[in-house]
Amino acid sequence: MDQFLQHLVNAMVLGGAYALLGIGLTLIFGIMNVVNFTHGALYTFGAYAMYIAAVSLGLNFFVALPVAIVAGLALGALIELVLLRPMRGADIDTTMLVMIGAGIILQSGTLWTFGGVAKSVPAPFPDAPLELGPVSISWLRLFVLLAAATLIACAYAMINGTRLGRAMRATFQDADTAALMGVNVKLIYTATFALGSSLAAAAGALLGPVYVIFPQMGDLAAVKAFAIVILGGLGSISGATIGGFILALAEEFGAGYISSGYRDAMGFLIILAVLLAKPTGLFARAERVG
């Protein structure tokens, strides 16, 4: 039972970060119909931005975090303006290839700039974990969970409660009609991509101090983000949130009670099962026809 609780706590912490990754990706896909292959690179970028802000520039940890998130926002906006805006209306495969290329450039650029040796970001939390009976949780991970929950709540509030959010949802439902109703669709695309990117960067900036930072860290994160999005249903934000937690639970309990060698395979087994039973994902919104 003690072990069960520890696994549960671990899964909750991991799930928060997974949800952030998933929401960013699903948002971009749902609204822009772009398969964002730079998502992993943006996650890595967020972690390195955190490293530059907190270690190289010596900023306070809690100041460095928003700096890294804003840097992700800016990079996302830049990618949209330079690469995606001229490609609008192009074939989805063409866009995909461009994004794969951009991802490779970002990753190689990181390797070139920082080298392959992993970096770490010290966090201003006590080393001793918080002990709740048989369960231990590090203060840093607790902070990551709370920060992720806050960011997810902010993203929800923004999408459901603001004019920009309403315009985004309108664009998601039908871009042409939204444009006719006076929505500046171009601006919505830039805002969406920047927002999605900043969420990936936030996940990287939060998890960077928990793990270590290295140029290829985004590869596995990207695979998981895609898995979460497929699990939750393409374009569904609540699906991505719940999908993130389902993946974390599957990995944690699969590794704990079945086999740690297959930890990363557990999530994909669930995805296979979901795709067989409900091919559109668990929470996909019904597609508009016509």
Binding site: N10, L207, F214, G254, D264
Partner: protein, 384 residues
């Protein structure tokens, strides 16, 4: 226009003809290391160590009157790529001998290519027992296989007071091999073996495995992984309050990087290493160690990398000695000459003993193995 075309074709032909003539002035040594992917940092260290050896040898006039030339290729930490790189080095660069490929799974993937083309390879880092027991006569290894490492660790086990050990190993030939060899040694010494947990090479979160390990009554956790993953394991152990003695194996732990990145979480951990750069006077060839460390520093490489890069340095020196003995830069002659090589490496005498099935033996050298401890952020030999 046509004169220009003829001229350019002539120039091209001349260029092509000139290329091999230039190449014949040097002796090529293929270097097959992971320069990108999860093992990028370690592979780069080995390559930079190899460069020091090559420059030192060339400054002294080279080998057989020719300069040596390292042909360095990136195997991307990927076994399939490692095999492709070996094929490229042999067929396109025509290297008569190679060094590689850091990881056990990478080296094992290269080995069939060695048999196919009959080109010898010096293995500088890999620990899996399979490399020198599977009957590949083109393999010469200077790093200790897990069984040798376990054998060196055996007399220290009772001194540490170990009763029961769990294992947490990287899920590849290296990790699983280490778990098997150390497990066998411990059982023979009356130490119980508990859980054997694995983690994927790129995995960053080991909380599930550690939650399981936390619940056992084992007093020691044996870990086999590369340095980045070790850092994570230590941090996560501290975060989850896992309090057990830790012993790491494999010689790719890079203790300075661990101290720098895991900090207090690495306190009191024990590490089996094959080189003592912290105390050059205690190494088998203090002068060579000091030269190597000075040169390493002069080139601006981090001290932390020395525990990894010395293998590249020793590897190239061993290969050069074999070419010298062979009297010709040809695969067959070099393969034969490896058996007669004798030199003092930075971690002990290098000489190859036969290992594996009769008639197809691989060469295995027996380097020194040391147990070091991190105490108060300082690295030193463990006091037993």
């Amino acid at each position: 226009m046509s004169t220009f075309r003829i001229a350019s074709i002539a120039a091209l032909a001349l260029g092509l003809a000139a290329a091999p003539a230039f190449a014949a002035d040097t002796i090529k040594i293929g270097v097959n290391e992971p320069l990108t992917g999860p093992f990028a940092a370690s592979g780069a260290y080995v390559v930079n160590g190899a460069r020091i050896a090559a420059d030192e040898i060339n400054a002294k006039g080279g080998v057989l009157g020719k300069k040596i030339e390292l042909v360095i290729e990136d195997n991307k930490s990927n076994p399939t790529e490692a095999a492709a790189v070996a094929e490229k080095l042999i067929t396109s660069d025509e290297t008569p001998v190679m060094m590689g490929a850091w990881g056990s799974s990478l080296t094992l993937a290269v080995m069939p290519k060695l048999e196919e083309y009959e080109v010898p390879m010096l293995v500088e880092t890999s620990s899996s027992g399979k490399i020198t027991t599977s009957g590949n006569p083109f393999v010469f290894r200077i790093s200790p296989p897990s069984a040798l490492e376990a054998e060196a660790f055996a007399p220290m086990v009772p001194k540490l007071g170990m009763k029961k050990a769990d294992f947490l190993v990287i899920n590849n030939d290296w990790g699983r091999g280490a778990a098997a060899d150390f497990g066998k040694m411990l059982k023979a010494g009356g130490v119980e073996v508990g859980l054997v947990e694995t983690m994927d090479a790129g995995a960053q979160d080991m909380s599930a495995q550690l939650a399981k390990i936390k619940g056992t009554d084992a007093d020691t956790l044996m870990i086999t992984a590369a340095v980045d993953q070790l850092t994570l394991v230590f941090k996560q152990m501290a975060a989850m309050g896992v309090k057990k003695r830790v012993v790491t194996t494999g010689g790719s732990q890079n203790p300075d990087q661990i101290v720098a990145q895991a900090g207090a979480a690495a306190e009191k951990t024990l590490h089996l290493t094959t080189f003592l750069p912290w105390d050059p006077a205690k190494t088998p060839d203090p002068k060579a160690t000091e030269y190597f460390l000075a040169e390493w520093k002069k080139r601006g490489h981090p001290f932390a990398g020395a525990t990894e890069s010395f293998r590249g340095y020793d590897g190239i020196r061993t290969i050069a000695a074999a070419i010298e003995k062979a009297g010709a830069a040809e695969p067959k002659a070099i393969q034969k000459a490896f058996w007669e090589v004798k030199l003092t490496g930075l971690n002990g005498p290098i000489a190859f003993a036969k290992s594996g099935p009769e008639g197809k033996e691989s060469g295995q050298s027996k380097p020194g193995v040391y147990l070091i401890e991190i105490a108060d952020g300082q690295i030193g030999e463990a006091k037993l």
